[in-house]
């Protein structure tokens, strides 16, 4: 740590989005940079609301620090391996330029006790999505399923290390590519990797069907594998844990929180394995989050058809349908089971 100039930022106000692009649902993220603003790497990964240690660890962070130091020592000769890691041209340069965030101040002065009015990082993604929704633009898979975890491709990383494979799922794209447990990822798409977050950055920006060259170190030798991304691979991601799912619920369910039924509960409800069945766990009570309540939904209702879709979906899949197929102010027919009886309701898209 003493070899770095360490900066701690605790607010999104005035955050330079031309530099800091990361998974905005995180409450902790780290960047390794040169003073000329060249990015060496990112650190910070989260896959659920479980303890952060599931995805991150002090040893893993230390390895990322070491890898970033190595890149610093090799700079600028290694500029080519860093090119793809740099931030993309953002829609707005600071969060306050988003229409949804214009009321916020560029900087808060804590010395003057300005403790409120902080822009939380997740509000950047909320603002991006709200802009699309208000313009009646469909969400892309990238908008809907940001910063995908590599395990969607069967690639599970060891949080105790920088970017080391812990396990591979049988039959997955990672297995087909030839990855093995213990492989140490050196680069992906030509980008030097210091962490799982760096892998996520590559995946976040990759197109469906892309074939990504991955340089791995195995038994003191290096080899190049090719990871192919199947069409729609991001859609298996669970976004329901993310803070930004709150605003997706406003749009897609009128503030209802939906949960999966267990196999036993499905059987008891008479729902087939491949059929949609999401139970209303919570009904929003305020503002736009009360639209579900106002439409007549009740806690315990089981959604078995949403806008004509009756195939099995997760809550995240339902969000995707609502934001990729349906538009603002559409009215969506929904069938629920309530006390064993079918009931038809209509929900406004927001």
């Amino acid at each position: 740590m003493n070899e770095f100039v360490c900066v701690r930022l605790i607010q999104g106000n005035g955050l330079d989005l031309t530099l800091f692009q990361f998974d905005y649902d995180l409450t902790f993220a780290a960047f390794f940079l040169n003073a000329d603003r060249t990015l060496y790497g990112r650190y910070g990964t989260r896959s659920s609301l479980k303890e952060a240690e599931v995805d991150m660890s002090m040893p893993g962070f230390r390895e990322a620090l070491s890898a970033a130091l190595k890149l610093h020592r090799g700079y600028p000769d290694n500029r080519e391996a860093l090119a793809g890691k740099q931030a993309l041209e953002p829609r707005f340069k600071v969060p306050e330029e988003f229409p949804a965030l214009r009321e916020f101040k560029l900087k808060l002065d804590y010395e003057k006790k300005e403790f409120n009015g902080c822009i939380h990082c997740h509000q950047v993604r909320d603002a991006e999505r709200k802009l699309l929704r208000d313009r009646n633009e469909s969400f892309s898979d990238r908008d809907m399923f940001p910063w995908p975890m590599p395990d969607l491709l069967g690639l599970v990383f060891d949080p105790e290390h920088r970017a080391t494979v812990k396990s591979i799922a049988n039959g997955s794209p990672a297995a087909r590519a030839g990855f093995r447990a213990g492989d140490d990822l050196v680069s992906m798409s030509g980008q030097a990797l210091v962490s799982t977050a760096d892998v996520q950055w590559v995946l976040h920006n990759a197109a469906d069907g892309a074939k990504l060259p991955v340089r791995v170190r195995r038994d003191d030798r290096e080899a190049t594998l090719t990871l192919e991304l199947p069409t729609g691979w991001r859609r298996a991601a669970d976004v329901s844990w993310r803070p930004t799912s709150w605003d997706l619920r406003r749009m897609a369910t009128g503030g209802l929180v939906l949960e999966n039924l267990t196999d036993d509960e499905r059987r008891d409800a008479g729902v087939k394995d491949d059929q949609l069945a999401l139970r209303v766990k919570y009904v929003g009570q305020f503002g736009a989050h009360a639209a579900g309540r106002d439409a007549g939904f009740q806690k315990g209702d089981i959604v078995i058809e949403y806008d004509g879709v009756s195939k099995r979906l997760t809550e995240s899949g339902l969000f995707a349908h609502a934001t990729q197929v349906r538009k603002l102010r559409d009215r969506v027919p929904i069938t629920v089971l309530r006390n064993g009886e079918k009931k038809k309701l209509t929900l406004p898209m927001q």
Binding site: R8, I10, F28, F31, F32, L33, N34, M58, F115
Partner: protein
């Protein structure tokens, strides 16, 4: 030297462990004040001032570690 190392380690631990959602319930103001008090006078950390960090990195030739910590 030992004191500096311990202090740096403690600040890293604070930076790291405060990620946990199991933090004791506090109001936002208290959390911010505590966070600021833990880091503001640190020799290791530049608090909430990216430009100052960049200037120091240019002067020293060291790389930067920028931690974004959203205080819920």
């Amino acid at each position: 030297m030992l004191r500096a190392t311990v202090s740096a380690s403690w600040l890293i631990a604070v930076a790291w462990l405060s990620v946990s959602t199991a933090a004791v319930a506090q109001d936002r103001k208290t959390k911010i004040v505590n966070d600021r008090d833990a880091f503001k006078d640190s020799d290791l950390w530049t608090y909430n001032n990216l430009d100052a960090g960049i200037a120091q990195a240019k002067k020293t030739g060291r790389p930067m570690l920028v931690v974004l910590r959203c205080i819920p």
